[in-house]
């Protein structure tokens, strides 16, 4: 326990976390500090490309490990299953409408790639290795949760006037971040160490620094969201936003043990299961469940769960996985 706490403290004063805190504080104090939308998108493209490529190069270096298929399968199952748990939990903890509950559930079954990235950099700084194909697991977990949420809406008779058509399914599956993550993972796998060598001064050396600026922006966006959505999100929902990642991570750990991942891989799967989407899922919800309130699902995902995972969650998952799945 002391170990976990000291790890958490060490994590808390890293440039990454402090950059997030700076953004949060600036937004809450109503500073006019902003990062242009195009620059924020540019950084997110950089991070996706870099993390995908590194994962792929890792697979190329260490060969495809027997657990690859099992891991991807487990990841998909997690993403499908977690929304049901989230939905039930929201029913117990909040008074949200069925549509809002379904929309929130979709976010928690899916993943936040920047939380994943932050976890990989914590692992790196502690010298813990992890399977390169965890990136592919991340990509796989983006979409299934959305289907579960739509299924919940249909089953519970909650009728939305949104559009659920072939176009929507294509958009979900070919979402830019999935395509970029899978694509760069494949490029990394194909070009391997040699490919990585030619571009590592771009995708490895400056990675932590870009992550700082990106988290600064996440802090700004989260802070602005928190400021403008007071009232929509009650205490029960906030508690959900901190309990659900713990539950998710427990399932992630169980899946990692069943599959046989390394301690690092287990920490990453826990992080994925614990994290909540803030890009792919909100866009899909706008189309499919327009009556669900963005101020609820975005505030929970970005304003509560994301900082929770960044500060408390990741050190916890890392410590637990090392204790249980590790050597």
């Amino acid at each position: 326990m002391t170990d976990i706490l000291s790890l958490a403290a060490g994590n808390l004063i890293s440039p990454i976390i402090l950059s997030f805190v700076l953004g949060l504080a600036a937004a809450l104090a109503r500073s006019d500090l902003t990062i242009p939308e195009a620059v924020a998108k540019g950084m997110s493209i950089y991070l996706l490309f870099a993390i995908g490529f590194k994962g792929g190069a890792g697979v190329a270096a260490h060969g495809i490990d027997g657990t690859l298929v099992a891991t991807l399968f487990a990841a998909a199952i997690l993403s499908f299953a977690l929304p049901f748990i989230a939905y039930a939990l929201l029913g117990a903890m909040t008074r949200l409408s069925p549509l809002d509950k379904a929309a929130v559930s979709a976010h928690y079954g899916s993943i936040s790639i920047v939380t994943f990235v932050a976890a990989t950099s914590v692992l790196e700084s502690q010298g813990i290795a992890s399977e390169g194909y965890m990136v592919a697991a991340a990509a796989i977990m983006e979409a299934p949760a959305i289907l579960s949420a739509l299924w919940i809406v249909a089953r519970t008779g909650g009728s939305s006037r949104g559009t659920v058509d072939a176009g929507l399914y294509r958009e979900i599956l070919l979402n830019g971040s999935i395509v970029l993550l899978v694509g760069s993972f494949l490029i990394g796998t194909i070009t391997g160490e040699e490919g990585l060598a030619t571009i590592s001064p771009f995708i490895i050396a400056p990675f932590q620094g870009v992550l700082c600026l990106f988290l600064l922006d996440m802090g700004l966006v989260a802070g602005r969201g928190l400021r403008e959505s007071r009232g929509d999100v009650g205490g029960g929902a906030v508690a959900f936003g901190m309990l659900m990642p713990l539950i998710g991570s427990a399932f992630g750990l169980a899946a990692a043990l069943v599959v046989g991942l390394s301690a690092g891989g287990a920490a990453l799967l826990m992080t994925l299961a614990a994290s909540a989407s803030y890009i792919a899922v909100p866009a899909a919800m706008r189309v499919a469940l327009p009556e669900a309130k963005p101020s609820i699902y975005l505030t929970l995902s970005l304003g509560v769960t994301f900082p929770f995972n960044l500060t408390v969650g990741i050190p916890l998952y890392t410590a637990l996985s090392s204790a249980i799945a590790g050597g």
Partner: protein, 103 residues
């Protein structure tokens, strides 16, 4: 200079629906429109602003259509079907255009 009667329709809608709206317009025979970026706004669902948005889902766009008056109704029907469950707004203004053959 000779001008011709037309309607200017402005539809403000969530960015993820832009493609669906323009597809619907195309199906209704409206092939001329211009999409303007939107920086922020406010409405019944609160205030929002584009800066620092990491999420593609959260912006809006403004679609401007110039159209012959007699085709307004089919445009509005098509647009309304897309906009209706969503948060956008639709406004129509009388306008005149040069080069009527284009509309």
């Amino acid at each position: 200079m000779e001008t011709h009667q037309a309607k200017r329709v402005e539809i403000i809608i969530e960015a993820p629906l832009e493609g669906r709206l323009t597809d619907a317009l195309n199906k209704a025979g409206v092939t001329g429109y211009t999409v303007l970026p939107v920086k922020g706004g406010s409405g019944r669902s609160g205030r929002w602003s584009r800066s620092g948005q990491v999420s593609q889902g959260s912006g809006m766009v403004a679609v401007v259509c110039l159209i012959k008056p007699e085709r307004l109704d089919s445009l509005l029907d098509a647009a309304f079907a897309v906009v209706e469950p969503h948060i956008g707004v639709v406004s129509i203004t009388d306008a005149e255009v040069l080069r009527a053959e284009r509309f």
